[in-house]
Structures are given as C-alpha cells and as structure tokens.
C-alpha cells in the first residue's frame, strides 16, 4: 500500500512538472467553462429558466466530450513514457507487485481528473448564488462524469501498457472509447438482434441517465465493470513480459 502511494505521489509530481498536464488542465477547464456558459445562455433563451435540471443535461453531455478529448492525452504517458525511458525495466527489478504499479498510476490519473472536475464546479456555484436550484441532478451528473472519466482512464492505462509510443497509446484509447461510445449511434445499421446487446454495452447510453439526473445502479455497475475490465487487461499486459520479453532499448 505504501508503495502504491509512493508511486502515485511520484506520478503526480512528474505530471505537475510537465507542461502537458498544465495545458490539458487549461483546455479542460476552459472548454467546460465555455460549454457551461453557452448552455446557460441557450437554456435561458430557449428552455425557460424554471426547470434547472433540464440545463444539466446539456452541460454534462457537453462536458463528456471534453473528458473524451482530454483524458486519453492524460493517460497516454503513464506507462509508455516509462517503457521508452527504460525506467519501467528498473521498476521491474524493485520489490513491487504489478498491481501496485498499476494502482499507483491509476490513482494518480484519477486524482488529477478529480481535481479538474472540482475546477469545473465554479460555474454551477456562481449560478447557485444567483438562482438557487435543486442539487441532486447536478450531483448525479458529476457522479456520472466522474465514473465515465475513470472508465476512460482505465482504458487509457491499458493502452499505455502495451506500447512505448505515447501517440499510439492515445490513439488506441480514442479508438476503443469512441467505438464503445458510438457503437449504437445508428441502430438501424447494426441489425435487430445485435442492437439490444450493443445498447447494453454502449458507454453513451450508460451515461445518459446521469446527465438527466438519474442514478441507475445498472449504469454505475456498467461503468465500474468497464473500468475493472480494462484494469484487468492492463494487469495481464504488464505481466506479459513474463513470456514476451521487453523490447531492448
């Protein structure tokens, strides 16, 4: 456990000292802020200002896109960079379990994401001071956004384990996440039999409830399951050196 925390701290220090994290943070906060502003304006003009819960649907569906854009870039370096630098080889010679390595890096990325989410609360807080509203839909939306982001992070972590090229890791993450998101984009295209199954597996469909202010336990379980699946895959891939050997630097 202490090693997980040590790894997490090292990872956070490393991220905070690279311009990438700062740029990603700025983009995340900037974009979500802009979306919030434009959604509020849209809502006031078109939707009427009585049912605030309707506003959150717009906001979270937009924020979700920002998370999709930013998180694969945040996770791409986690293992790929260490593999490229050769520090992963060194880590493998320390008395540390693969699980601890994964947990440390995963937690570091999740903490950063949590920090970014906290930064986006500014808009709703300002709105609340001007026009108080029911908090539950907002909290549900944030829970959904958090769980969705964590699922992205798990997927990005797994992609980062299998390559030493950060761009490859990011693109791989986009590929997997975007596919599992838009698999049900056009239900007519996938046929009647497959559609219900894919619908159950779509990230998009499992986020929609949260955005509307509804916390469905099935959605929570799905997003956590998605996370667990990719953490498991990452663990297997990290252990794959046992039979594959490391690429020599």
């Amino acid at each position: 456990m202490t090693k997980t925390l040590l790894l997490m701290r090292r990872e956070l220090t490393a991220m905070c000292r690279t311009p990438l994290a700062a740029v990603l943070g700025a983009v995340f906060v900037g974009l979500t802020g802009y979306f919030f502003y434009s959604d509020v304006v849209f809502f006031v003009l078109v939707g009427g200002a009585n049912q605030t819960s309707g506003l959150w649907r717009f906001v979270f569906l937009d924020d979700r896109l920002v998370a999709l854009l930013v998180l694969p870039l945040l996770t791409m370096r986690l293992f790929a960079e260490e593999r490229k630098l050769g520090t992963l080889e060194l880590l493998f010679t320390y008395p540390v379990r693969d699980g601890e390595l994964l947990a440390g890096k995963f937690l570091a990325a999740v903490l950063i994401y949590l920090g970014l989410l906290v930064a986006t609360v500014l808009g709703p807080v300002l709105l609340y001071t001007l026009h108080p509203f029911a908090l539950t839909p907002l909290l549900a939306g944030y829970l959904g956004l958090f769980l969705l982001g964590v699922a992205f992070i798990a997927c990005g972590l797994a992609a980062s384990v299998v390559t030493e090229n950060q761009v490859v890791a990011a693109v791989l993450t986009y590929g997997v996440v975007v596919f599992s998101w838009f698999a049900t984009w056009n239900e007519a295209a996938i046929g009647e039999r497959v559609a219900p199954v894919l619908l159950q597996l779509s990230l998009f469909d499992h986020f929609y409830g949260f955005a509307q202010g509804v916390i469905d336990s099935r959605d929570v379980v799905f997003l956590l399951g998605f996370t667990a699946l990719f953490l498991f895959l990452a663990h297997r891939a990290l252990g794959a050196r046992a039979w594959r050997g490391l690429a020599s630097p």
Partner: protein, 357 residues
Amino acid sequence: MIQAEQLTKRFGGATAIEDVSLDVQRGEVVGFLGPNGAGKTTTLRVLAGVFPPTAGRALIDGLDVVQQPLAARRRLGYAPERAALHLEMTVVELLGFTAGMKDVRGRRARREAVGRALEHTGLASMAPRRIGTLSKGYRQRVGVALALVADPPALLLDEPTAGLDPEQAADTRRLVRQLAARHAILVSSHALAEVETTCDRVVILHRGRVLADDRPATLGQRLRPASRVDVEAEAPPDALTATLGAVPNVRRVDLLAVTNGTTRCRVEIEPGHDVRPELATRITSKHWPLLVLAPVETSLEEAFLALIAATQAPNGPPPETAEAGRESGQAGRRGLGASEERSPRSGRAPHGPPDKK
C-alpha cells in the same frame, strides 16, 4: 550470492544466451566481459528479474528471481547500461522514491539511505539538481546510486563506466573496488583494461555462451597463444634474426626496430619452453652486447582475441546466430581497438598500437 544456473534466453527464434552459469560470492567483483551483443545485458536482465529465463535458474542470495521475485529483488541493486531516470525529478527525490520502493521504511531511514548513496557516488553537490540538467557522467552515477540506495548485498552493474571521461571512469572503478568488501558485484564491460584492474574474476561471454571463467592473471596465462621474448642487442638485423631463428623451439622471429646499430626483435617460442638462456648464450658468443631480454606478458586482450579466434576457427559461426555474430564481432573489435594495450617496455601505453608483427 549471485548465481546463474544454465540460463538460456530466447526471443522468438533468436537465442540471446545459452547455458550461461556463473557464481559471484560476497566480497567478490566478477567482470562480465564480451563484445557488444554477446548477451551480457540479457544475462544481467534475467538475473535482475526484468524477464524470466527460457530455461535455467537465476538466484540472488539463494532466492529464485522467478519463484520468489519480491524477496530476491529486495537483495538486489541493478544499474542498467543506459541510466534510466526520471528527468523531471531531482536527484534526492528520485533516490528517496527508489529507497521507498526498495522497502526502506520511515522518513529518517530513507534520508539516511539517500545520504549514503550520494556520498558513495560523489553526488552530494548535485543532490538538489533536476536530473534533466545533469551531464551524462553524473546521470550514469545517479544510475549507480539508485542501485546502491537500499544497500542490497548483490549488485549488477551493466557497463557502469560507458560514456564516462577517464577520470570519472577511474572514480567508478574505485567505487566498485570499495563496495566489493561488503557486496557481491557482477559488473559487465567490453573494455578489458577496466576488468583487469577492477575484478577478482572474469567471465567471458561470446555469442551468448560462457567461454571462460577465471582470474584475470591465470586467464592470460592459460590462453597465452605462445610465449614471446623481446630481444634487443647491438647487432646487424639480418645476422641477429638468423641467429635467434636457429635456436630450437623458436617458432619465428619478428624484427621490431633498428636504431643506431641496435636491433630489437620479438621471438615467438613454442609454449612450455624457456629458451632465454640459450638466446643469451648465442648472442654473447657472437660478442654482440645484449641490451634487453624480456618476456612479453600476454594481456587479457590478446587472450580474449585468441579465445574468440579459437571458437570461430573450426566451423565458422553457428547458423542461427551468424548474423548477430558478424555484427558483434565487428563491434567487439572496435571496442578492443579503443581500449588500452599493454606494451612490453613502457608497461602500459594508452591507445598504443596493436603488436607489430
């Protein structure tokens, strides 16, 4: 302390090392020698637990690195050839982190461990610097410091002096000697002079196989291609070479230099015979003043070349490693040419020419 038992590692169809066995005791420095591509790094990585062997066992302090990885790794410090460092961290931070990863518990214990490693490697003044701002020599030392930080009894150092200037390299060799008292050290190198001065024992690896495992001195003796004696006398060159060539058990006589009436030759003798008295008698009987009669020491480098030549001579390279062999052979010769050569008169001449023949 560090044991390899018949290690074999294959990557796909390519065999990196085959049947490599070695044993390093505490208090011993063993040099791991071979041309580039011989399999030194692969062996060290298997011993360090980076990846498991295809066959055989790697043991650190009696613990199998595959069966009991965590316990074995606790007793191990590994410095890879290319110092792998987090450039955005400071020296102290990285050492502190590594100490923690190697089970040094508690803030104070960690600080002490870091302090010791800094002191050993002469990095104290660089402690607060970001690693990205350090020169290559210092980075290499940080790599060694990482291996030392939790004071593990077994150390695996992969070419710790590669890319260092001569002074830094000498510092590192001194450090290795100094550490030898309490550690078992396996240090790889392709520079023979370095191994000769630093190591108690030498394991020579070529194309993934152990060619020899012996003390540097006896290795030179055992593998001496032939005994040689340098002779210098005030005599006409042709007459001198003819006279010396007539002595029984002399294989050949090479003229080295002729200056101001003195002639210098190198006499090659069948191994196991000492013809020096006979050489002296023949020269003095002709009333030529004899100036020098000195046996030429076989350097480890020559022994190494002889060893490799011996393995290459019979059937050529084995088919599956032919490509790698050619590459490594060339790289090896380059490496050898750049290393020091022992010359008979001055003892040690840096960058001296190979033997004139």
